[in-house]
């Protein structure tokens, strides 16, 4: 198992940029949330690769914290999406641009 660290980081960078593209292109809130998931997962992958390169467990610990943060974020975001759907009868984020404050 002699995978260079650069290749793992490169994979994480590609996944992060794909998630960023999805976040910017899609206007459906569910797709945007899924793209955020991809980006967080890429960040976790970068931590794991860094930890594996050093041979210590710090990277995995940080991955677990990212996982906990993601779980909390997803639950709140999905509740917000349900609220938004009840309010606007649509998942289009442009429909919510009338919210002021």
């Amino acid at each position: 198992m002699n995978i260079p660290m650069e290749q793992g980081i490169l994979l994480a960078a590609i996944l992060f940029c794909l998630g960023l593209t999805g976040l910017l292109v899609r206007r459906n809130v569910i797709f945007m949330l899924m793209s955020v998931e991809v980006m967080l997962n890429a960040a976790g992958l970068a931590f794991i690769v860094g930890g594996a390169a050093q041979g210590n467990a710090d990277g995995q610990v940080m991955f677990i914290f990212i996982l906990a943060m993601t779980a909390a974020e997803v639950s709140v975001a999905l509740a917000l999406i349900i609220r938004m759907f009840n309010e606007f009868k649509s998942l289009d984020i442009d429909k919510a641009s009338t919210m002021k404050g």
Partner: protein, 177 residues
């Protein structure tokens, strides 16, 4: 082992790409699950079996099930899909793609300009992760617990139905406020 890494990487990138360009929310979700499982294989190859198991159990298991529930609950209509198709024209996606490509190019340039580190990928057992987490990072574990508690309360509060006032007097009072 190296070829496994490359296959899993390709699968992860391809599944993520398909997730972005898919029109159907459920299909996109299934592609996202495939991508997460591929990343889990990569974790296993990199010598992080505990992280790989957590990725499958929590990401692909719990979080994606939440997504499936919400998509089934909201019952997205065909009109939305037509609108999404409009958004997938080149005029809509070329700008963000260029921005992301520039960012990716910078990251690749930074990686390429460094000398390659020959790394020793050694397996880190779950026991080491647990020991480190509950000794050095115990404060962060507490903070994560606070965050999860706040998440639970926030989701509960946002998920509540709005209270409607049926009394005429109360309704007028609310309008005045």
């Amino acid at each position: 082992m190296n070829i496994l890494f490359y296959i899993a990487s390709f699968l992860a990138i391809w599944a993520t790409l398909m997730m972005i360009i898919n029109k159907n929310a459920v299909h996109a979700l299934l592609y996202l699950i495939a991508s997460l499982l591929a990343v889990s294989v990569i974790f296993f190859i990199l010598g992080a079996p505990f992280a790989a198991a957590l990725e499958v159990i929590i990401y692909a298991g719990a979080i994606m099930v939440l997504f499936v529930f919400v998509i089934m609950m909201l019952n997205v209509s065909g009109a939305e899909q037509k609108m999404e198709r409009e958004l997938l024209k080149p005029k809509a996606w070329i700008g963000p793609s260029v921005i992301s490509a520039i960012l990716l190019g910078e990251l690749v340039y930074m990686l390429a300009s460094q000398s390659v580190h020959p790394t020793v990928m050694q397996e880190v057992p779950p026991a080491a992760v647990g020991k480190l987490m509950f000794s050095k990072y115990i404060l962060v574990v507490d903070l994560a617990a606070f965050l999860l508690m706040a998440g639970i309360i926030g989701a509960y509060h946002l998920g509540q139905k709005e209270k409607r006032n049926h009394h005429r007097y109360l309704k007028n009072e609310n309008q005045n406020l």
